[in-house]
Amino acid sequence: MAETTLTHIGQTEPRPAGWQGIAADWSSDQRAFKNVSWGKAMMWIFLLSDTFIFGCFLLSYMTARMSTRVPWPNPSEVFALHIGGSNVPLILIAIMTFVLISSSGTMAMAVNFGYRRDRRKTAILMLLTALLGATFVGMQAFEWTKLITEGVRPWGNPWGAAQFGSTFFMITGFHGTHVTIGVIFLIIVARKVWRGDYDTGRPGFFTSRKGHYESVEIMGLYWHFVDLVWVFIFAFFYLW
């Protein structure tokens, strides 16, 4: 612990001046999160900012829904599927929820096997996670197509308050984008794991820095966050 907190007060080296000085003063010897790498800390801070983005979306949805005089369309009926001669309420959304939770489970296992240096299992589990994520996006595309053919538009729909369409496309669209980006990065990191980049210290294509198995955990943080956001969207948009 000592090496992270000591800042050599009596140092003789002069501090750099000008722009270099600004960069050096802000970047060196300062460390709030003692046992967390900068990569993980920055992913957490990014996720915090993303929380505010989705928080604002859900807030604007709440405001629109609370302030309209026109009845809100019943999501239970809007998202029902006709299966076996009867309408099953919200069934597609429920399946999507289970798919995303399963992908979170496989991701957690991938992180675990990554730290055990089991490259094969890590890569397979990450690819499985990506596959489940892609399935989720596919089902979302199906859902969008169904709603659009039924006449839902950002400016109106056949069942009630016009804001239903705009908030629906905005919130699920942003979430689907996050899932899609996650799938792409899962495949990239899985390829690195499979090739053994984190064992051989091969420099990354973008940063030219050596990667570590912690990248899998950081990737996992993002993926679990996507699942976390869905928990809130499921509760507030689909179930409320």
Partner: protein, 134 residues
């Protein structure tokens, strides 16, 4: 290093091999890898399934009013808590990180309160000027 993870439930500390490797790779050896038994993840995974099924049942059985809303919120918070605490390993991080990340979103509740008042007022003016809707 030990005090950072003293409450670690089944957490493995860096063994010598890891530490050497970390040192060779230029990572501060104080960084602790999150290694927990697989069983823990499977149990949490199962709970997430159960809780999701429960929240779906709320809609399937068509519960209404405060019962519905409180159940939705309870299942939502339990799921979110499990994901953040175990899957994202927040339960084993130091409090400095946990508070830095978890406290700010709670302040969003202030924003919620403001927007509830605002929405109520907007609805009131709409009803006053345009009538009670369809």
């Amino acid at each position: 290093m030990a005090e950072a993870t003293a409450n670690g439930l089944g957490q493995h500390h860096l063994n010598t091999g890891h530490a050497l490797e970390a040192a060779a790779a230029g990572v501060a050896p104080a960084e602790v890898h999150q290694e927990h038994p697989i069983k823990l993840y499977l149990v949490v995974w199962a709970w997430l399934f159960v809780l999701s099924a429960c929240s779906y049942m709320v809609d399937y059985f068509g519960l209404h009013g405060y019962l519905r809303w409180s159940l939705i919120l309870i299942f939502m918070m339990l799921k979110a808590g499990l994901i953040v605490a175990v899957f994202m390993h927040m339960a084993w991080e130091r409090l400095a990180l946990a508070y830095a990340i978890i406290l700010p979103p709670i302040l969003v509740l202030v924003f919620v309160a403001m927007m509830v008042l605002e929405a109520d007022y907007t609805l009131l003016t709409r009803v006053t000027f345009f009538g009670a809707g369809h």
